[in-house]
Symmetry: C2
Subunit: 228 residues, 2 copies
């Protein structure tokens, strides 16, 4: 059984804040918890904020954060970010920040996740894993889902290839993106209209708790990508 707990009562996050302090003050963590933290508060804590005067400034910022534009329609830009993510508007986000300010994606979300994980361990003595999540659209399917931008202490991908199915045959193509599924599960208790930027996923398979990285495990290299 897995439980997904919203972390209620988190204060507004400002540049320089230590997110681990705010989480530790809001909920009692247990060993093996996966702490899912939305990108927005990570970007704020890390000061990844930029002033944008107008739509033109926003577009310049999107272009600066992009290494390549894949599609463009009206105000929507689908591009590949410097971190290798393909998403809308290079992750440049104007919601839940001050007017005239945009939040950018963390420079290295795996490093952000490791920092929060280590700071939580130092403060609480409890060994937890961390996923930094963001809300992405998908081709072919309407609606947004939360996915992992970074992780620490939990597998990004669990490789079930080589294990046997219930008939004893070797399974193929069963690399499951656990970190993305954890981000999606966490989103179910967050909501966009409530002040719940952190959720705990408790009770995950202990074998998933290992060193990992979204960048090295999930971001698909160009040479194996059929859609880039």
């Amino acid at each position: 059984m897995i439980t997904v707990l919203p972390v209620e009562g988190m204060p507004e996050v400002h540049p320089g804040d230590e997110i681990a302090d705010l989480i530790a003050a809001s909920i009692a963590l247990e060993k093996g918890d996966v702490v899912v933290v939305t990108q927005k508060i990570v970007s704020k804590a890390e000061g990844r904020l930029e002033e944008v005067a107008d739509d033109e400034g926003r577009l310049r910022l999107i272009e600066r954060e992009s290494v390549r534009v894949l599609r463009r329609r009206d105000e929507l830009v689908i591009s590949e970010t410097q971190q290798g993510f393909v998403c809308a508007n290079a992750g440049v986000d104007l919601s839940n920040v001050d007017d005239g300010v945009a939040a950018l994606l963390p420079v290295d979300s795996d490093r952000s996740a490791r920092h929060i994980r280590d700071a939580l361990a130092a403060r609480t003595g409890v060994g937890v894993a961390v996923v930094v999540s963001d809300t992405f659209g998908r081709p072919w399917r309407r609606g947004l889902v939360d996915v992992a931008l970074g992780c620490a202490g939990v597998a990004a991908i669990v490789d079930l290839r080589g294990t046997e199915d219930t008939r004893g045959r070797t399974l193929q193509a069963t690399e499951v993106a656990i970190a993305d599924e954890l981000a999606s599960a966490a989103e179910l208790v967050m909501g966009k209209d409530r002040q719940v930027p952190v959720a705990i996923v408790r009770g995950v398979d202990p074998s998933w708790l290992r060193e990992s990285s979204v960048h090295s495990e999930i971001v698909r290299p160009h040479n194996e990508d059929l859609f880039r």
Copy 2:
């Protein structure tokens, strides 16, 4: 708080079986539960099985189930199915079925979900929602995640547009694909190597429990799709 419970001890499913009977015999449902059922046992119960003698037969089946091929590399075909899903090999699946047999996607997974939901209500008197899930790859990101093929009694998409963010500004682009996130959350307790084809997601926001359809809400029409 949300809890995700694996339904253990489900027997092997055969054509003609009533999945609702097997679920009702295995777990005590509660009002408002979302019952996530993997496509494989739905396809088996509905007799969506075909003999395939060899690789060539498998390829013919994939082409028959596809309305259009988007990409092809070696043995992998990415195509659009008759149901409008874009996935690998048109969902034709050789794992966890008898040798020489392939499982096809249900003809109408929303209808399958409604059937299971109605049969559960008739047998147990408990009003639950149902999601039929399958495991899909994604462009740009490695690893597979579970998504919804069909749903009944729970929103496929929850539209938070028009609600306000924590600053009182109207949010944009926040249509969340709840049914896909429910499928992903359920997968976390299923695993591919265990006999757990059903999971319960308990404690979802009651406002999500309404009539819906993956086909009408999530499958993206061609004219608004930038990647088809």
